[in-house]
């Protein structure tokens, strides 16, 4: 009886399998066979640290979404490979651009012979449709963070917008009008969020449909399955069940076609797992290797490409949480007490540098003549005494559950700084919270008297650094508590809206000097170069300070 039952069960299972297999067809064709890992001559597999959040870069802010978008899309303005500077020609969809005398109208000359991967022509009309789409957002406003951060408001007029309008003068000439002069235009157009997308595909797949769902949003079919750009690769498949994004060569690409047929992003959130995947050969490169592994990776047959440092780590102050910090002498004492050179030497990767100001030296407006107070514990003690703050207590915050290119190991950086502060008699109270679990929102709410934070630049303007940090009186630095707060905010606005480049650069140099010598709302600590690692056999990647690496020229030996 038992044997008969077993036989019957097996027979039923076999019949079910055969029956189901009759309904299931293989979707493989000549282009979709082969391996998704380890590569081969025509496939490059890269270990990504996270899943792309959404495939329409307009609604994205994260590096992993942008990494995929950078292979599929192109902007009117693209950055010269290996730099943060806009490049006329190159991969930019505009071959030239110039501003009107008043700086409010920008005329772009478009590249000819370019088509989106769905066959739609790229021309002035397509450019205007893109801008109108970005400006006319309704449901997607809170998801379009880069637009609101860089352009301000939308068509509904709730907030003032930088964007005033777009006019197609002829097929290859387009005017973009602004409501005010700003130093960040046209560099912001190099941000992946503002890359050009096919108007046909956006309309067909309802790209603007962003719907609140519970405590998140759902995106359109366009943003989840049909992103369409002009770039060298097109999306083949986003296999969420297997955590891989597969792009294939765009055979109709206007420029030099990629040498590889497939580009696969294998999503491996854990950094150790990415390193092991490289060692086992299932990927051929990954981003942000831990600096302590660089030497071992080089010895293991890999190339560690160190990017130019385009970031800043700082120790911020908020006098709202500790009134003693309102006194410049106390802030100066803290700066003198901390051995920043030592922190750079012991806690950051090789090519890291101590920062003298809040922008990297490659950014126009960097003040070369700035004299930064050196490490001097005696001076620090003296300043504390003069301020009547000897033996003061300070709540110092650092984040857990995070690494950033500018702070590979926050706890170690914190410990080094804390030890320095204690040497001059400051009593340090430690507060640590998970990055997404209370650190960011409480620092932003002004709860932290002193905190570690930083920034990686989006493009090469001073405004992208110090404008981002200090343009609001009511933020993490508590600028409203200082007499000079309004003056700083106004001077930043003034510099950003100065059309003449030389005059603007001079204003930023002055602001940088005042920021360190007179204001000191934070201590600039370091610029730290992140790296990208690939197998020695992989060639054709130019490391970018913006993590703007293109994989179209990659060859896999």
């Amino acid at each position: 009886m038992s044997a008969r039952r077993t036989f019957a069960a097996l027979a039923a299972a076999s019949l079910l399998t055969v029956g189901l297999s009759a309904c299931a067809e293989s979707a493989r064709d000549a282009g979709t066979t082969g391996t998704t890992g380890g590569g081969g001559g025509d496939t490059f597999t890269f270990g990504a640290a996270g899943a792309p959040k959404v495939l329409d870069p307009y609604y994205a802010t994260d590096g992993e979404t942008f990494r995929v978008a950078r292979q599929q899309f192109e902007g009117l303005v693209m950055f010269k490979p290996g730099t943060a500077d806009p490049e006329k020609g190159g991969q930019s969809l505009a071959t030239d651009w110039k501003a009107s005398d008043d700086g409010l109208t920008w005329t772009f000359t478009l590249r000819e012979g370019v088509k989106f991967s769905d066959g739609t022509a790229f021309n002035a009309e397509a450019v205007c449709k893109n801008f109108e789409r970005m400006f006319n957002q309704t449901g997607g406003q809170t998801s379009a963070l880069y637009w609101s951060e860089n352009f301000g408001g939308f068509k509904d007029g709730k907030e003032k917008s930088l964007y005033a309008g777009c006019t197609a003068k002829d097929a290859k000439t387009v005017d973009i009008k602004l409501t005010r002069v700003t130093s960040k235009f046209p560099a912001i157009l190099g941000l992946p969020s503002f890359y050009m997308q096919s108007p046909t595909a956006m309309e067909k797949y309802d790209a603007n449909k962003v719907t609140p769902a519970g405590q998140g949003f759902t995106f359109s079919e366009y943003a989840t399955a049909h992103p369409t750009g002009t770039g060298p690769f097109v999306l083949e498949n986003y296999d969420q069940a297997n955590k891989t994004v597969t792009l294939k060569r765009n055979d109709n690409y206007w420029g030099t076609k990629p040498k590889i047929a497939k580009l696969i992003f294998k999503i491996i959130p854990d950094e150790v797992a990415r390193r092991q995947a490289l060692q086992s050969g299932s990927i051929q490169g990954y981003d942000f290797p831990n600096p302590v592994d660089w030497a071992q990776l080089k010895d293991g047959g890999n190339t560690v490409m160190v990017r130019p440092a385009f970031n800043i780590m700082y120790f911020g102050f908020n006098p709202n949480s500790n009134p003693k910090l309102k006194d410049l002498k106390v802030r100066q004492a803290i700066m003198s007490a901390i051995n920043r050179e030592q922190i750079v030497k012991t806690q950051l990767p090789e090519a890291a540098k101590a920062a003298s100001q809040f922008i990297p030296e490659t950014v126009a407006g960097y003040n070369k003549d700035l004299k930064v107070p050196e490490y001097n514990p005696d001076k620090a003690k003296q300043l504390l005494a003069e301020a009547g703050a000897t033996g003061m207590t300070l709540d110092f915050w650092y984040p857990s559950e995070v690494t950033r290119p500018y702070m590979p190991a926050p706890v170690k950086i914190y410990e080094a700084a804390k030890a320095d502060l204690e040497k001059v008699g400051i009593k340090v109270n430690t507060t640590t919270k998970p990055w997404n679990g209370g650190y960011l929102d409480q620092v932003d709410a002004g709860k932290a008297a002193m905190f570690i934070l930083g920034w990686t630049g989006d493009y090469n303007t001073a405004d992208n650094f110090i404008g981002t940090f200090f343009s609001s009186l009511d933020n993490r630095f508590g600028l409203k508590n200082y007499e000079w707060g309004p003056e700083l905010v106004q001077s930043l606005k003034d510099a950003d809206s100065t059309p003449d480049e030389a005059a603007r650069v001079k204003k930023y140099e002055d602001i940088n000097k005042k920021l360190v010598e007179q204001y000191l709302p934070a201590v600039p600590v370091s610029h730290s170069p992140p790296a990208i690692v690939v197998k020695n056999t992989v060639k054709g990647i130019t490391p970018s300070p913006l993590t703007d690496e293109k994989f179209a020229d990659v060859t896999v030996g």
Partner: protein, 334 residues
């Protein structure tokens, strides 16, 4: 029996509702949250406030919970904000669940197929080298942390020897029908894809099977030892029944009762091990999603995954009770 099953299912609904309430309150009492995860270090007080308003996070918690319940009754659990923003949390569960089921099935199959025969043999040959080896292995299985074993296996067999993949579920292009990759390969006759998926399962399944193996081995051994001392076994031997009949009908069947309960509890507990194993092997199951959802403060996904884990736990235990009745006729008549 039917009434029993219906009663247990109704209890399960109560458990899930209470759990959802506790989860909701707990998740919303955590500092940080969705908005921090979405905006990262680009947040400003203005963007933070706008997003909180757009997502309804500025409303009282009981209003938010009411809205959540009413959506959940319609099968809408909200969009993910961290694991895969814009994707419905239920879709993420359904995409990830087959991976964890495949992995858990393999792990529990390895554990059961090894532990029950070995436990039985160890009991039959108490004090023999086999018994000692079994006890030592089970001790190691319980004592060594799953993630450490996972790391060792990965380092040895994937990174050094290159015998097996270091992570993921599949490394060939394949057609996915059910998201059970091994089954999909059979259904679509892409047999290489099935083999490839099986290779990806071996190391994580071994790592995940160690604790169930150890526990099932020890319970089997103890249960068989107890049964072997029973009068009815001696009676069966005295009656001259063959040892095969005695082993199968009297010893194993009676010893299986505690073993089945243990297997059920171990299946329920597998998720805890799966979180670590899936993370080490970058295996895209619900354990991996759970870890990511917590890191990203993805409330919708956390809620769905934890509630699903509770449902699975209750269902597995219900199945164990039903199996009990099948194995022990006395249970059916009670």
């Amino acid at each position: 029996m039917l009434r029993f099953i219906v009663r247990r299912l109704l209890q399960m609904v109560g458990v899930v509702v209470v759990l959802s309430m506790l989860l909701f309150v707990w998740l919303h009492s955590l500092p940080g949250g969705t908005v921090s995860a979405l905006l990262g270090d680009r947040a400003t007080p203005e963007t933070r406030a706008a997003l909180e308003e757009a997502l309804g996070l500025d409303r009282p918690i009981w209003v938010q919970y009411g809205a959540f319940l009413s959506r959940a009754l319609r099968g809408e659990f909200g969009a993910s904000t961290g694991v895969l923003p814009g994707t419905d949390a239920l879709t993420i569960l359904l995409n990830r669940l087959p991976a964890t089921i495949e992995l858990s099935f393999c792990a529990i199959a390895i554990a059961v197929l090894l532990a029950i025969p070995l436990g039985y043999l160890a009991a039959r040959h108490r004090g023999s080298p086999l018994d000692t080896a079994g006890i030592l292995t089970s001790l190691v299985g319980v004592a060594v942390p799953v993630f450490f074993l996972a790391f060792l296996l990965k380092w040895g067999f994937a990174i050094k020897l290159h015998w097996l993949p270091d992570g993921g579920r599949q490394s060939v292009f394949a057609t996915h029908v059910t998201n059970f990759f091994v089954l999909d390969g059979i259904l679509t006759r892409e047999f290489d894809a099935s083999v490839n998926a099986l290779k990806h399962l071996i190391l994580p399944a071994i790592a995940l099977s160690t604790i169930p193996f150890a526990v099932i081995f020890r319970i089997t051994r103890a249960a068989v030892l107890e049964v072997l001392d029973e009068d009815y076994v001696r009676t069966a031997e005295a009656k001259g029944l063959t040892s095969r009949v005695i082993r199968g009908r009297h010893v194993l069947r009676n010893a299986m009762l505690p073993v089945v309960t243990t297997i059920g509890l171990q299946i329920g507990a597998l998720l805890a091990g799966a979180v670590l194993t899936e993370k080490v092997f970058n295996f895209p199951g619900i354990g991996d999603a759970l870890a990511l959802a917590f890191e990203q403060r993805d409330y919708a996904v956390l809620q769905v995954l934890i509630m699903a884990a509770a449902v699975v736990y209750v269902l597995v235990n219900l199945l164990v009770d039903v199996l009990y009745a099948v194995i022990d006729p006395r249970v059916r008549t009670r």
